[in-house]
Each structure stands twice: as structure tokens, then as C-alpha cells.
């Protein structure tokens, strides 16, 4: 498409302010790009009217000299954020047709900052999945293809796969994501974009359909580090409507971006060198170490001894919370209701939940119900909470020695749709590098760092201290500048 849709968030903002184009032109260009990219199935609904209305307001604001931080910027919104007057589904049949009367705090902040909404982005159902294959609205397809000529449709990662796919395809300049165990970082890595999960509590969870409350955290996905910083700044902030929200001010991350890492220490956790990791990922990791050293950082080997328990811990805690969080979808007040003839209340629950939830959601509800049940609670849930505390302590100890940690984001590049969906455990293994930071609640981001032998993007992950998103962004910027990642998927979808 036009040059407009090639622009990232900062470029659009600055170009709009400079008068290079109107906000309306921007909105129309992206609306058109969205329409052209239907084969990606990145959106559950498109909301061009919202984008246009915000653009018109931005143009008026520019004329009046009253620009807001995101005036003129249209965004993609993951369909886990409740949007007043616009269907919100969590990619589940359970919520098909559900139109909230209320706005999530994060989207309210974005809209109050002048942004518009291009549409609600597809995701794994209730954010449970690593490939977008669990969506009730069909899987999102990555714009990337292997260079083997096979044209196998690839997974955009998950759960924020609509967000990652849409940004990589340049049909949205940036998008919101949510990350429970890697749902921003892994799809970012799979599609060659940047994505940051801030410290747990930075972004309000109010109005975000809950998956696992103690882990869910909204974050920013964008073309690059600067755009991620701009978007995250607009999403963050204390919210009295979320008891777990952090009452701290939001730093000026964009303004303080610096790739000069002199005086900084970067930890390399040895436990992240896992069996069967592709050599090219290991090589990229070594390359990342070299880049950060080049940026002035001192490299330190560190140990996070409980890393190997992170994945099983996560897959106890997250389903446990989910099994309870999803109990409200019962067919009584909203969403799907399946009421067979002569059914009593129990029958209605069973029929509604059988029809409304997909297989992966059911699997996690069952796992969660099991680990919380009498007789198993201590062996699973209590133990998992103890291990979680140990994992958090690992990070605390490491951050006494270093400022940030560098790891690969995912153990592989994007896989083909259907390749891993038969074996849930294999799918869960995709989260092995992202889950520990989620359990510890610390900020982490993925930046695109290179391509594998098949021409697919690979990401590196930077993990930081609690509330030190700046340190994470700065290290990400240092990598980004040295990686010079410019690869783009070929446009095969717009015919």
C-alpha cells in the first residue's frame, strides 16, 4: 500500500504533526489495508467508523493546536479488551455477539490520548494458546512464509496472534496485546516485530477479559522499540478499579530511550540453554550478547536455578485461576445460552459451556479444576505457589548482579498451522522462555534480531527488574540498532 501504512507509530505521529498528511488520510489508508488483508484473518471485527471518528477529532485538534499524545494514530485492539459499543469476544463462541457497555481502562486511556480503533484483533480463545489455532473465529495466518516455496500457512504465535500478524503485515501501525505466559513476546518473535510486557500492575486489568489474574498483563506491540515505548506509555498508569494495579507514576520511556549501555550489566542465564534448541537460535543469542557488549554493557553469566520448574508451575497456576475466572460464563446473564428442551439449571450450564468453550479452554478448565480440588490442592496448587516464589527469588538474586537479562524469546521460529496442535504439551513448550518472567511479574520484551535458515524471524528477549521498563527498552533498542532487522514478509494476501 501507500507509504502511510509503512510508517510506524512515531512516524505517523510526527508526520501528522508536521502536516505531511491528515489523520483522516491515515485512518483511510489503514482501513483499506485492513480490508485488503482478509486472508490473514487478523480481525474478528473491523471498526473503520471508530478510526475515522478519531481521525476527524485529531484533525480538528491539530487545527485547534490541541494535539494529544496519540492524535492521528489508529490502532488494532486485541479482542480481549472490552470496548464499549463494540463486540468483545475473547475469540470464544461463548461471547459471540457480546457488546460491552463499558470500556477497559487501557482502551479508555488510548482513546482519551487521541487514538482510534481499526478493529478487534483475533487471538487464541480466552488468550489460551501459542498459535492462534484455538480461536473460535478461525486461526490467524502469519504474513510470513518459509522460503522453501511450500507456502504452508504459518502460525503468527499466540495468543496475541492477530496483533502480531496485523503489525507484521503493516495493516495496523501498532496494537495492544496481553501477555499471561508469553502471549505478547512469542508472537512478536514469530512475526519480526517488537512487543513488551510491562511489570505486573503497570497496566490496569479492568475491562480485560480475564484468563489468569495473577499473570495477565496488557502490553504494547509495534514495529520497533520506540513505538512500543510510546504505546506502552499511553496504556500504563494506576487504576483504582484494579486492586493489583501499581500506584506509581508512568516514566517518560520514549524520551529517555538510550542505546548507550555503558555501565550496565547484562546477565546470561545458563538455564535458558535448553536441550534440542536449534543451533541458529543459540547462534543468534551469542550474536545478541556481542551486540550488547558492543553497546557498552558488561556481560555476566548468571543462574536462575528454578527455571526448569517454571513451565509446570505456570501450567498449574494459570489453569487454576482460569477455571475459576471462566465460571462466570454460565449462560445466565450474557453471552451464549444453550437451553435444551426440558433442561434444568445444571443441564443449561453443561450444554452452554460444552457449546461455548473450545477444546483448549475446556482442557485448561479441567486441569485447573483438578489441581484445586480437595486432596490435590496442596500437591499441585500450593506447591506451585511455593515454586513460583522461588522463581521470583531467582530473578531478585540475579538482579542484584545485573541490570537486565538476555535470552531467546522462543525455542523455535514460527511453526506451521497444525504442526503442534495435536500435542498440547509440545505446544506448551513454546512458552519455556517467556513463562518465568510472567511468574515473577517482571517486565520483558521481545525484539526482532534475525532470520532463521527458512527466512523466518527470530526474536531475543530482554528481561528487567520490576518497574525498570526503561532498562528493558534501552537494551532492546541497542539490539535493534545493531540487528538492523529490515526483513518484511512478501505481500501475498492483498490480491
Amino acid at each position: 500500500m501507500s507509504a502511510i501504512t509503512d510508517q510506524g507509530l512515531a512516524g505517523l505521529r510526527d508526520g501528522f504533526r508536521a502536516g505531511d498528511f491528515s489523520a483522516r488520510e491515515v485512518a483511510e489508508a489503514f482501513n483499506a489495508a485492513v480490508v485488503s488483508a482478509k486472508p490473514l484473518n487478523a480481525f474478528i471485527i473491523e471498526t473503520p467508523d471508530h478510526a475515522i471518528a478519531a481521525a476527524e477529532a485529531a484533525d480538528r485538534a491539530r487545527a485547534a493546536g490541541e494535539l494529544l499524545p496519540l492524535s492521528g494514530i489508529p490502532l488494532g485492539i486485541k479482542d480481549l479488551f472490552c470496548t464499549a459499543g463494540y463486540q468483545t469476544t475473547a475469540a470464544s463462541g461463548m461471547l459471540e455477539g457480546f457488546v460491552p457497555t463499558y470500556e477497559s481502562t487501557v482502551t479508555a486511556k488510548l482513546f482519551a490520548a487521541g487514538a482510534g480503533m481499526l478493529g478487534k484483533l483475533n487471538l487464541d480463545q480466552f488468550a489460551m494458546g501459542s498459535s492462534n489455532e484455538t480461536s473460535a473465529f478461525g486461526n490467524v495466518i502469519s504474513p510470513w512464509r518459509r522460503n522453501d516455496g511450500g507456502n504452508a500457512p504459518l502460525a503468527p504465535g499466540g495468543s496475541s496472534g492477530g496483533s502480531s500478524s496485523a503489525i507484521a503485515a503493516r495493516i495496523v501501525p501498532a496494537a495492544t496485546g496481553t501477555d499471561t505466559g508469553g502471549s505478547i513476546r512469542q508472537p512478536a518473535a514469530f512475526t519480526g516485530i517488537a512487543g513488551i510486557k510491562p511489570t505486573y500492575g503497570r497496566c490496569s486489568r479492568f475491562g480485560i477479559v480475564a484468563f489468569a489474574s495473577s499473570l495477565d498483563q496488557a502490553g504494547a506491540m509495534a514495529q520497533d522499540v520506540r513505538d512500543s515505548a510510546i504505546l506502552l506509555e499511553a496504556m500504563s498508569g494506576f487504576d483504582p478499579k484494579d486492586s493489583t494495579s501499581l500506584d506509581v507514576s508512568v516514566p517518560r520511556w520514549e524520551e529517555n530511550l538510550s542505546s548507550d549501555l555503558r555501565g550496565k550489566k547484562v546477565g546470561i542465564p545458563k538455564e535458558y540453554r535448553v536441550d534440542n534448541m536449534p543451533a541458529e537460535i543459540d547462534a543468534l543469542w551469542q550474536q545478541g550478547i556481542a551486540w550488547l557488549r558492543d553497546a557498552g554493557a558488561e556481560i555476566v553469566d548468571v543462574s536462575l536455578p528454578h527455571t526448569r520448574y517454571a513451565l509446570p508451575t505456570y501450567y498449574i497456576i494459570a489453569p487454576a485461576e482460569a477455571s475459576s475466572n471462566l465460571a462466570r460464563y454460565d449462560g445466565v446473564r450474557y453471552g451464549l445460552r444453550d437451553l435444551p428442551d426440558g433442561a434444568n439449571l445444571q443441564d443449561m450450564y453443561a450444554a452452554t459451556r460444552a457449546a461455548g468453550f473450545g477444546p483448549e479452554v475446556k482442557r485448561r478448565i479441567l486441569i485447573g479444576t483438578y489441581v484445586l480440588s480437595a486432596g490435590f490442592y496442596d500437591a499441585y496448587y500450593t506447591k506451585a505457589q511455593k515454586v513460583r516464589a522461588l522463581i521470583a527469588r531467582d530473578f531478585e538474586e540475579a538482579f542484584k548482579q545485573v541490570d537486565v537479562l538476555l535470552t531467546p524469546t522462543a525455542p523455535s521460529a514460527a511453526f506451521a498451522l497444525g504442526e503442534k496442535s495435536a500435542d498440547p504439551l509440545e505446544m506448551y513448550l513454546n512458552d519455556v522462555f517467556t513463562v518465568p518472567a510472567s511468574l515473577a511479574g517482571v517486565p520483558a520484551m521481545s525484539v526482532p534480531a534475525g532470520l532463521d535458515g527458512q527466512g523466518l524471524p527470530l526474536g531475543l528477549q530482554i528481561i528487567g527488574r520490576p518497574l525498570d521498563e526503561q532498562g528493558v527498552l534501552n537494551a532492546g533498542l541497542a539490539i535493534e540498532q545493531r540487528a538492523g532487522f529490515a526483513a518484511r514478509p512478501q505481500n501475498w494476501w492483498a490480491k
Binding site: 479488551f81 472490552c82 468483545t88 475473547a90 461471547l95 457480546f98 460491552p100 457497555t101 463499558y102 477497559s104 486489568r205 479492568f206 475491562g207 480485560i208 477479559v209 480475564a210 489468569a212 489474574s213 495473577s214 483504582p240 478499579k241 484494579d242 486492586s243 493489583t244 487454576a320 485461576e321 477455571s323 475459576s324 471462566l326 465460571a327 462466570r328 454460565d330 445466565v332 446473564r333 450474557y334 439449571l345 445444571q346 450450564y349 479444576t369 484445586l372 480440588s373 480437595a374 490442592y377 496448587y381
Partner: protein, 494 residues
């Protein structure tokens, strides 16, 4: 020791009782939402997005509800836990929108405390007894299902969904229905003093789950049953009695008590099984991840303590000591916070303190005012006479303006008209007279008209003195000061 026993075919059985009382917290808003917690609104008028468990909604604790529970804990001398936590109790029901109740299983807000019940010979409670309270935790109430609105459908009213409850769990320390009744009444009295629960069992703002078991004296505890949601003191006592007798019958006929949940049917005065332990829910309790642990600051705890009013036991001791009230009067007046407040307002309005006015005021309140209110079917809060008016009346008696008889007459007029006693006395000329000249004149007339009786009296028939008093008072329209009449009559009759 309670002497309450059930006489079975195999001997005497002792009853062991524990109560779990759910008390609705007095607060403007619900426990985790800003919706109104006021009783009596149209269905689903007091429901926020949080109470309806809409997607993405989050609970935020209401400090006022926590304050009320902490003060209640302090009022029963309980340990206040500076660190407590909310847990989710998971089960599906149409009146439970979240699919879980937010409660406190593992770390309650309030720990061990005690409630003392008084000796009550008539009820078989020989001496005052201390009942242990294991814990108080706060939790959400559920909504309510309405089955009578439609022939085939049930409707859901979520007004109560999310309203704050305190669950006050006693130790199994009670041994008779009377002790359980006394415990409930005392607890209700304390809650009303603190202002943390209105104690209205009819409106459902206080209900009890009754745990009952029986055993032969000296044996270990038997298996207990839990009778749910009993909603009056009388029903709690009746439920215990009937359930304990049922258990004795079962055991004596060779059966076993099943640990189960039961329901009390007041119409038939029987308990019925709801569900047994085998098909009991597995509630899958776990810490609510939407909420941080509840940590109380020293300042918060101090503020709660400072807000705590004088409690019934302390008040009663003060009334008996400083104010010289009889044990009976002190107990009656302090048992209900409204009565105690009325009494104190009455005392304040007299401008006096000490045993003299204390006795006078308490006697008047209990005999005259209570008598009148009883007759009128009114509570003390609805009294047609204000404490200030009552004090004025007591003052008129104390300064000799009104005799006892006159004061009762004036009080009746006050009840009817609502007028101040001074006004009534003036307008109707009901003032007592001590004018010796006027009285002497009347006495002279009475003696002249009854010369024969004067002679009889003087010849030793002392009993006739009352006759002269009566005649004199009658002639003076009841307004003569009886003391002055007595003195002057004695002098005149010689």
C-alpha cells in the same frame, strides 16, 4: 454447666451446639463494588457491572466494610489479624454470578474472641458463661432466586449479590437451646452497639447455621449436622431441640448420624436433609488472584478502636456502679442499644447524675415508659415522648411540683398530645400545692364535717388517719402535696 439434658431410653444425652452467624454489614456500598447495599430496592436496581460479573470486571475492597468487621472483632475482644486474605469459594448457582463467592477461608480478618452470656435461672443458665468465637471473616452475599414470578422460569435478583457479610463462627461451647438463644441475643446486642449489623433476622440481615451433635455426658463429641439459614432466635432454639431429639432417636434405635446439611421447617418444627457429605460441593478454595492480601495499618486499627462505643457489659457495670441501678434495671436497659441511648439522653436532659436520678430515671423508664410503649405497641425509637420531655417530667416530680399520682396523669396526657409536661401542668392546673394556709383551711372543713370520725380517731382509732388524708386530697382535687397534708393533718388531729 448446663443441666439441659435429653432423656433417652438409654439415659441422658448432652447437646453440643456451635453457631455460624452470617451478619450483613451496615455500609452504604457492597463489599467489592460501589452499588448500594440498602435493603428493599426493586429487583436488580442495586447491581453494578462487578456484581453481575461482567467480563473483565474486578473487585475492589470497600474499606468501610473492613472497618465494621474489625470493630466487631474488637467488641468481642478478638485478635485482629493485620494480614488477612480473600479466597474464592467456587460453585455454580444462578444467584452467584461470578461462579465463586469471595470469602476468607485460610486467613480470616478476625481471630479468637469471646462472648459472655448472662446467668438466667428461668432458662436454666445457672451462671454467666463465656462462649468462644473462633473467627470472624468477611465475604460476599449471593443474590436471590425468585421461583414465583413465572410458571416455568426462575428469575434472579442480584441486589444482594456482593453485599458484605460477616461470618461469626462460635466454638461448640453451647449446651442447651437457651444458651444458644442467649448467645444470639448477646451477639445481636453487640452488633447493634457497634453499628456493624442491624441484627434484623426477619429481613435476613442476620441468619444462623446451627451445628448440633449429641453425646452421653463425658464422651467425645458426636457427629454433627449443620442446619442452614435459620432466621430467628426462636427458630434456632426450636431447631436445636428438634434436631437433638432426632439425633437421640436415631442413635438409640441403632442408627448413625450422618454429617450433612439440613434445613429447618418451622411449620412442621422439623429438620430435613438437604445434602450429605458425600455429595457436598468441592469448593476448590484458593486465594483470589484479583485481590492483594488485606494489610491493616496501625493507624487504621487505632481509628477503629477509637470509634468503638461503650459496649453492653461495660455499660451495665457503669450503670450499676456510678448510677446505682439495680442489676435488673441495668441489664434491661443495656441489653438494647436504642434503650441505652434513650436512657442516656434522658439522664443528660435532667442535667443531673448519680444514684438518685439514676434510680428515678431507670424506674420510670422501665415501668412507666415501657408500660406505655407496650400498650401502644411501639418500640422505644417510636416513643411519642422524647427523652427531654421525660426528663422534664422527672424534674417536676423531684421538685415537688407533681406527686406520683399527678405525674402519671400528666404522662398519660403527654402520650396523647405530645405536649411538654410543664405546659400540661400549667394549662390544666395539675400543679401540686404545698400552700399550708389553703390546706389547713380544707382540713378544718373536713374535720368540721366529720366531727364523729374526729372523736373516734382521738379515742384511738388510728386507722382513720387514711380517711382524713383521702378526704383532704379529694377536696383539693388531688393536687395537694401528700407530705404536707400528712404533717398538717397530724398536727390538727392532735
Amino acid at each position: 454447666m448446663s443441666s439441659y439434658r435429653i432423656q433417652g431410653a438409654t439415659g441422658e444425652w448432652e447437646v453440643v451446639i456451635g453457631l455460624e452467624v452470617h451478619a450483613q454489614v451496615v455500609s452504604n456500598a457492597k463489599l467489592f463494588s460501589g452499588a448500594s447495599a440498602v435493603f428493599g430496592a426493586e429487583p436488580n436496581q442495586n447491581v453494578s457491572l462487578i456484581d453481575a460479573a461482567m467480563p473483565g470486571m474486578l473487585p475492589v475492597p470497600n474499606e468501610e466494610c473492613i472497618r465494621q468487621a474489625v470493630k466487631t472483632g474488637m467488641a468481642i475482644g478478638a485478635q485482629i489479624n493485620r494480614w488477612s486474605r480473600f479466597d474464592r469459594k467456587n460453585y455454580f448457582y444462578a444467584d452467584l454470578p461470578q461462579g465463586y463467592q469471595i470469602s476468607q477461608l485460610y486467613h480470616p480478618l478476625v481471630g479468637e474472641g469471646t462472648i459472655t452470656i448472662d446467668a438466667d435461672e428461668k432458662a436454666g443458665i445457672k451462671e454467666a458463661k463465656t462462649i468462644g468465637v473462633e473467627r470472624i471473616h468477611v465475604e460476599q452475599d449471593a443474590g436471590k432466586l425468585m421461583h414465583d414470578q413465572h410458571p416455568t422460569r426462575s428469575y434472579v435478583d442480584l441486589n444482594r449479590s456482593g453485599v458484605a457479610l460477616m461470618e461469626i463462627v462460635s466454638r461448640p461451647d453451647m449446651r442447651s437451646p437457651a444458651e444458644a438463644g442467649a448467645y444470639l441475643r448477646k451477639l445481636r446486642s453487640i452488633l447493634r452497639y457497634v453499628g456493624s449489623c442491624d441484627g434484623n433476622m426477619e429481613e435476613g440481615s442476620m441468619r444462623a447455621d446451627v451445628n448440633v451433635s449429641v453425646r452421653k455426658v463425658g464422651e467425645p463429641f458426636g457427629t454433627r449436622t449443620e442446619t442452614k439459614n435459620v432466621n430467628s432466635v426462636r427458630f434456632v432454639m426450636a431447631a436445636i431441640e428438634t434436631e437433638a431429639n432426632r439425633q437421640v432417636d436415631v442413635l438409640e434405635s441403632g442408627g448413625k448420624i450422618v454429617q450433612e446439611t439440613r434445613l429447618y421447617d418451622p411449620d412442621r418444627n422439623e429438620t430435613r436433609s438437604m445434602r450429605s457429605k458425600e455429595d457436598a460441593h468441592d469448593y476448590r478454595y484458593f486465594p483470589d488472584p484479583d485481590l492483594l492480601p488485606l494489610e491493616l495499618s496501625d493507624a487504621f486499627i487505632e481509628r477503629c478502636r477509637a470509634e468503638l462505643p461503650e459496649l453492653p457489659d461495660a455499660k451495665r457495670a457503669r450503670y450499676e456502679g456510678e448510677l446505682g441501678l439495680s442489676a435488673y434495671n441495668a441489664a434491661v436497659i443495656t441489653s438494647d442499644v436504642e434503650t441505652a441511648r434513650w436512657f442516656e439522653a434522658l439522664l443528660d436532659a435532667t442535667g443531673k447524675t448519680g444514684p438518685e436520678v439514676g434510680k428515678q430515671a431507670s424506674n420510670w423508664l422501665i415501668s412507666d415508659l415501657f408500660g406505655a410503649l407496650n400498650r401502644l405497641g411501639k418500640s422505644i425509637g417510636e416513643s411519642p415522648v422524647t427523652p427531654k420531655q421525660g426528663a422534664e417530667l422527672l424534674g417536676l416530680v423531684a421538685d415537688g411540683t407533681l406527686s406520683g399520682t399527678l405525674s402519671k396523669q400528666v404522662f398519660e396526657i403527654m402520650l396523647e398530645t405530645g405536649d411538654d409536661p410543664t405546659k400540661i401542668v400549667e394549662e390544666r392546673g395539675l400543679k401540686q400545692t404545698s400552700d399550708t394556709g389553703a390546706i389547713e383551711k380544707v382540713i378544718a372543713d373536713v374535720m368540721a364535717a366529720n366531727a364523729d370520725k374526729v372523736a373516734e380517731y382521738r379515742s384511738g382509732k388510728d386507722k382513720l388517719f387514711g380517711f382524713f388524708v383521702g378526704q383532704t386530697m379529694k377536696a383539693m382535687g388531688g393536687k395537694a402535696n401528700p407530705g404536707v397534708v400528712n404533717d398538717l393533718l397530724k398536727k390538727a388531729l392532735g
